[in-house]
Symmetry: C2
């Protein structure tokens, strides 16, 4: 019944299987746009820079006047003035002349090079230039950075600090971004109770960890999580909850279903909705095997493993790219730190293994999954993935640790 796929195959198929969502466009202040996704390309509305700028404190000269200048044979030029910051100079540099320019100032007409002050010496009305400078030396010419009309940021750019800096440089303090995709979360399980509730020591109830954990992940990826409550393991109740969520969400996560019986429930519910299509039912990965990736109409519907650590791995490696696919873009690559395996880490052939562990001073020590979720969620600060074609990792071997 399970159509188990490898995680890398699934990741290759995500963009094709999950089309971009129909997202509204909002105009927001740039100051509040951190993490948002640009709906339309931003062009330069003027040449950037709009004047020839000096990149150093120095003397603006004609390059041919300092040709061959050296420590022993400096060029001797006449001081013709100084350019002030922020101002367009009215003076020009004639043959044999030099004008002082601070960093970022407008290089006056006539000059085609700037020589750093370190290589010059001023003597009253003259300046000795001890170094030759080719044409263009230490100058950023008008439009060097971007010409009017050229694209500064393409549509789909995620607005981080550097993009917000670039928008500011273009004079944009408002920007069009996509509305955040809304992701519904439904927790399922007869034993699941809300996070804030006391648990009777006479029951085998478990608090809902996946909802707050998944919601935090979604927020980090620019999504808006919306919770549809905890649903008992009942096909009809889960169906009702799913249909309600699909009405208002761009994507739905159903958490729970690690055991065979429950997993079938979720799959049955999804399969029973018209327009349902499955990318996979099961991943050849440990932990995280009971993962369902489907779509109802255009909307992703995900069955997430009930075990929080498994769910976390699946969120990071599979759900994250699906979230960005709603914007029609690739997820930024997950960075990692390289470390040495603190011990031999065995692995099973035939499926990829996620191993959570503690990264300390460049050494990655795996933590056993069995010991429970809190220990792993708190003592582990990263995980590695062991390829299904490997039999494990030797002690001391380099591993790529993705930070939790």
């Amino acid at each position: 019944m399970l159509i188990v796929k490898n995680i890398d195959r699934v990741r290759e198929e995500i963009r094709e299987f999950f089309p971009p969502a129909f997202l509204a466009v909002e105009r927001v202040a740039s100051s509040g746009a951190l993490g948002r996704v640009l709906s339309k390309a931003v062009p330069a509305e003027e040449d950037i820079p709009h004047f020839c700028r000096s990149t150093v404190d120095g003397w603006a000269v004609r390059a041919k006047d300092v040709f061959g200048a050296s420590e022993t044979f400096p060029a001797i030029l006449k001081v013709a003035g100084e350019v002030l910051m922020g101002e367009k100079p009215s003076l020009t540099v004639a043959a044999g002349e030099a004008v002082y320019v601070p960093t970022g100032a407008w290089v006056p007409e006539g000059a085609d090079a700037v020589v750093m002050i370190e290589h010059c010496e001023r003597l009253l009305d003259e300046v000795l230039v001890y170094k030759a400078a080719p044409p263009g030396n230490q100058i950023v010419f008008r439009g060097d950075d971007r010409k009017e009309g050229e694209t500064v940021l393409p549509a789909g750019s995620i607005l981080g600090p550097k993009e917000l800096g670039a928008l500011a440089a273009c004079g944009r303090n408002h920007v069009g971004v996509f509305a955040k995709p809304v992701c519904g979360i439904i927790s399922t399980g007869d034993e699941i109770v809300p996070a804030g509730e006391p648990i009777s020591s006479d029951s085998a109830e478990m608090r809902d960890v996946n909802h707050p954990m998944a919601a935090a992940c979604l927020r980090q990826w620019g999504m808006e999580p919306r919770f549809f409550g905890i649903c008992r393991d009942d096909e009809e109740l889960i169906r009702e909850s799913l249909l309600k969520a699909l009405e208002v969400c761009d994507m739905v996560l159903l958490s729970g279903g690690s055991s065979a019986g429950r997993l079938d429930n979720t799959v049955k519910v999804i399969a029973g909705v018209p327009e349902a299509a499955f990318l996979t039912h099961g991943l050849a990965v440990k932990p995280g095997k009971p993962t369902i990736l489907a779509r109802i109409g255009q909307k992703p519907v995900i069955g997430l493993p009930g075990h929080p650590v498994s769910a976390f791995f699946i969120m990071q490696t599979v759900i994250r790219p699906i979230c960005y696919a709603l914007y029609g873009i690739e997820a930024p690559p997950l960075p990692y730190l390289t470390a040495a395996a603190g011990e031999k880490i065995p692995s099973n052939n035939g499926r990829d293994d996620f191993v959570a562990g503690a990264l300390t001073n460049g050494v990655f020590t795996p933590l056993p999954l069995k010991s429970g979720l809190i220990t792993l969620l708190c003592a582990a600060n990263g995980y590695i993935m062991i390829d299904r074609r490997c039999e494990g990792v030797d002690k001391g071997a380099p591993v790529q640790v993705y930070l939790f």
Copy 2:
């Protein structure tokens, strides 16, 4: 006049030089606590789990009853019932008996091991167990994860998805966090105009890029940026602005001052305030040399280079750990991707070099700084740091690319 230090020495001295700020404590809903910093350790208020849980779907047995069981000689046990999810079982497992337990269910009294259903076969009232199981097999015992009173999250934990999951598992839907440190930003420079303003083509004005860029960085690190406007290059004006910011902020960034004259202005202003102390005035790094790290009383006061790309490097590598020092914690390590240098990258001995570039398909291609800020801020998606003891990086050599 410059007391130039190496960047790694400065980073070592940050925690000692910048004491934790006096931050108020706020009680917030866990659902809104993403990125906040825990003010007090969170202990487990009960044993976690509070019962013995099965980690698989299987049969709860007495380990000695299945001792030596194998494919050829299965143990034959009497089916004594089934445990339902979420419920405390009233039945017990006597010698020669087995009870069905789904994943996550309470393992009944008497049993000390669980055998996965894959290794068992049910025949009406009996179950054949084809595999031996040591005591404790597939069981998480009460308190295995955390005992009542043990620390789950220490004070100073940054609340990411896994920490929020752990809080939920502990039954906490509210949590005490530090108030976000407030960081004042003052942009300086006669040529600087606000980001949203048109620029006259008859002036050499530049839009303020550092304020929005730095503010976005600060937000990413859990700080609250507060803008104190653009200040002309006037010692008295800068002093007024700085004193005003110091009254209400935990830290102040003064942006601008790449040129020697202006740099001196910022330094003079800081040095003129009573209780000022300098960690460094200048960093042996390129770009980013004109960086001032000081403190007035207990509060960090930073002189940030005016060039946005330099400012960005300094924010990531030096200001980031200072921000976390306000919480009294270490900054999380900056992850990176390993790539091959796309070309030979020369470097200067004696100072560390930051090189921005484009990372594409595992190849890092440096982009020249001269070409301007937009090009670098947009076309570059990462940077490398070349150690001052290196003469550069050969084409094809491995480099660690920190993503922008």
